[in-house]
Amino acid sequence: MKKIILTALLLAPVFAFAAGNVQLEGNFKVGPAIILICILVLFVMVGIVFRAKDTTDFYAAGRSISRVGSGMAIASNWMSAASFLGMAALMYGTGYHGLAYVIGWTGGYVLLLILMAGQIRKYGKYTAADFIGDRFYSQKLRVVGAIVAILISIAYCVGQFGGIGLMFKWILGIDYNLAVLIGGTVVLSYTLISGMLGVTKNMQIQYIIIIISFLIPLFILTYKFDYFWLLPQIGYGALVSDIVTGIPAPEIQNMVNSFGHDFALTASPEYAMPWDPASGQTFFQFMAIAFSLMIGTAGLPHVIQRFYVVPKSSDARWSVVWGLFFICILYWSAPVYSTFGAVLSSHYEVGKLAKDAIVVYTAQLGDVNPLIVGFLAAGGVSAAFSTVSGLLVAGASAFSHDIYVKVLRPESSPKQQLRMARYGTIFMAIIVAALALFNFALIAQLVAVAFSLAGCTIFPLFLLGIWWSGSNRSGAIAGLIAGGSVALISIAYFIAGYFNLTWPAHEFISYWLGAWYFAWFGAPLAIIVNIVVSKMTEPTPFEIKKFLVENVHS
């Protein structure tokens, strides 16, 4: 089987002989479609070869993944459609403000590592809800933790399905809704077949595909438009400065986009200047988004769950370093797309573009070879797939392991548990696909909702649960209610706004507790409430304190 996979990988470029014409949207693109199909077939075959054989495999990959391998899996799991497509979209639309997402989604790993990674591994549980249930000695909290984990996974997945839909739409030239359904079905099939072990192996392959597909067009663009191409992540700096001062149209046309427009632009300092009035974003929003994404990173169940799949806690720590480095390679690169995209699409004739597809459009407008653009789009699909599969497994684990096995049917056999995990995966995928059809907001913004939700709920429980033995069950419940309430209010107002409903103090709530950054308020509130209530109620049992000191901090 491994030979077949290798052969498929080698033959993929041979089959991808027919490049489609340069068109930003619309028609079916043969070359990119063949590349995408080859990559998807490869994923499914890897999933079959490394499929889960039992529940330990399904939940935690048999705890057999190396540091670098786990780092790659962390990066692949992390580098979603939001990173691949969404970040460039935000920077394209709001300039410097989009960098809040770049630092938010990387800076959070410092917190995750220092405050949690090793300790979580030492605690020795499979899922976030498992930890919450045990640490706060409450079956009810375990169930609530599992439900929150499922909600976070769903919120996160909605953006990913949106990204999959956009890329399938671009490649296949089909309707967005149909594209979401087809893409969702494929990712669901392969997650069901493979489980976490196959997913982890796939993630390592996916990382390589994602990063190569993302980087190749950057070298071409910087070379073609005469910037320092050996390191595009630095080379585009001069372009940022050129955008600020303006790029005059040359008397003799030499550098043009794929439509034949000059590589020229009116001075646009608003692209690079902080919280520029033209972007419609403020200093507060920049800081709130960065902070919320950071603490959300440290509270995401599917990220935390990655630390269960390494053999030791030192591996868990080093896998974060590797993971973050691999992630940063993409995050250093994403602004290059938005910067080139800004100039290449600036002509009136290009018209309005779907921001979430600007990565692909930029490569097209830069007249990059259509096959390479197709590979880029397939990389975008791959990024969404890798994250969705991890999220579906995390959500399914929360359902089958934390609710079904631990609460409803403790006597169930491993076979029944695996079956429930698969039912959970299907159920989640259906809900996500249905929500993705609404197209609520930009991909990165939808994903940011999941981060704020995690920051308000899971993060305070893990932070206090690990670092303060005084945090008890009552405190955890109170903190969860406080953080959850903030999340509920913010999301309810956002949905009301989407349906053009105006609720009391709508403008005030929408600004100060925006759906992408409400954790700036919700997380500190949940922590304070947890501490105050814990101080006022019955202390944590001796066994828990003993376990914390002897097993986690010694």
Partner: protein, 253 residues
Amino acid sequence: MEEKVESYDFSFFKPTTRLAKFNRNITLSLVSVWAIGIFGFHILLKIVEKPTPEDSYIAYESVWNKISNGTASPADEKVFISSALSVLGKLSVNDNDKVALENVMSQFVIKLVPDSLKINFNEKINAFTAVKNDSLTRLSDKDYIDTKNSLADFASGFLGIKSYSVHAKLLPFILSNSSIRAFNEEDSSKVPAIMAKYLIHNQSFLTDFKLLGFPFHYFYTAVFLLILFVGLCWLYCYRTDKTLIKLNVTESI
């Protein structure tokens, strides 16, 4: 038993084991660097910033009062048109702002065209609008390119704009998009806010200084902070491994 229970009370700020003390110290150090690096820098950026107008805004301000009063000379109107083009050529301009500014600007372009050529000028606008909206199949269509270039050359000639400039290339689209009505008070009243919104920026020595081609603040956030994050993570793991050996702690899992 009582003493034993008390000894298991654990808090980040009151660690009871040597490993926990190490963890507290390194966490406080690294999180401080992390927080100052991110939030400290951006607070500094906010403190030192000053609203800095573009040259186009200064030029616009010098003529707008005269334009509002109806006392502007053709030279003043050309200055205003040039400033408006600086906004309309930007990357992202809100649709409502764009419509208002296009309309106001187009009125002054028409005004500058001599009466004897007005009919000819309107015909060129109408011809381009018709080709663009009705019969355009490819951007490389000769008819489309000819009518576009003809209008751009014609208009830029009256405005004193070089025909190969970015501004000149905007003119056909702005003129064909705008409704070119009589002077519109509503659109005109929006102009000061639109110009301020797009032509005044938060700048300081941190944004003006260049590093590796980047504006410094942009380099700091987009490149350096990510290096800092990886460095902090590496340092934490390295110091933790060393400390575990020093404390003779073996991690079983």
